[in-house]
Assembly symmetry: C2
Amino acid sequence: MAELRSDARRNLERVLDAAERVFAASGPAASIDEIARLAGVGHGTVFRRFPTKDDLMYAVIERHVAQLQAMAEEALAADDPGEGFFDFARRAAELMMGTPGIHKCVVHCGEKPGAAELEHLGRKLVSRAQRAGALRRDIEPAEVGPLVRAALLAAPPGHWRRYLDIVLDGLRA
Amino acid sequence: MAELRSDARRNLERVLDAAERVFAASGPAASIDEIARLAGVGHGTVFRRFPTKDDLMYAVIERHVAQLQAMAEEALAADDPGEGFFDFARRAAELMMGTPGIHKCVVHCGEKPGAAELEHLGRKLVSRAQRAGALRRDIEPAEVGPLVRAALLAAPPGHWRRYLDIVLDGLRA
DNA sequence: CCTGAAGCGGACTCTGCAGTCCGCTTACGT
DNA sequence: ACGTAAGCGGACTGCAGAGTCCGCTTCAGG
């Protein structure tokens, strides 16, 4: 990655920026051609760095996952497990809903990228809250994320916070 | 519809049956070719009866919508508004989740077909339950359906009942 | 500078879909 | 039984997007 020629590095950056914007706007349905056009490069250039569209999507997603991971770690350090969980849910939702298209990409990928770590943190967060009696126990820790995400995506543009409240209320013990 | 030649009527039936099965399996992504193949007809035959894929989808969906409508009317007649609503939700979910692909088609169409009536019934059902104090008031009657449907579709295959419970709990006053 | 390797980009292929068209077939009234 | 209009089906078109390839351009080291 450091071995790239200067023009190549510049183009790579442009591609990633464009991809982020286009995926954010159109979700997984975004086309490589559109990204290349916005980046001001030929689409062959995109494919040289990212052999498939999914590869590019992962690259874009990875930055977001990193942010979520930091939040999750912080939440795990909270004194009150219940509050840690609900705060995290709200903050994560705020982040994801800033770029709904990318949110859809995450759902689309089944979170394959480097999300094993994040998923692990999420599970810990949930089961800690369950043990503390703040969360209903009849749901698997791994299932909470998908449920919340689905509710967020189903909401009409401005109203996802209401949907989130409802689902979080439903999750309470 | 009664003016059809006998072979045409038979083919029409075959097409609808095949479409139902294929849409149920693959959702809105199903291809006309696959439906035609399963029906044992050329795809030109499908297009003669249903000029666009959406037309065919509507035809398939309509039967399901009719069933839901009957349920909704029954639920509106229930003594307890809250119970009427929650029973309807569970029964409707049971019906829809029997054919998840068709459920996806319904979501895909934004329920255009003849669903104005059903939507109206749904709104009445919700606002009646809200007035009776059985349902939280900070959600529009028209928003309840999408939220519930999204949760159902997000559930891993066998577990949608759990997801439904959670969302319905969240909806309680 | 000059050169060769790295990089570029767009023309090209391939795939899969919706939707059209028309020569052939078949049901059905007489 | 036969004439004809209704019906059939598959070859065809058009489109859009993913991924490939290769002749040309540009960077960077000597």
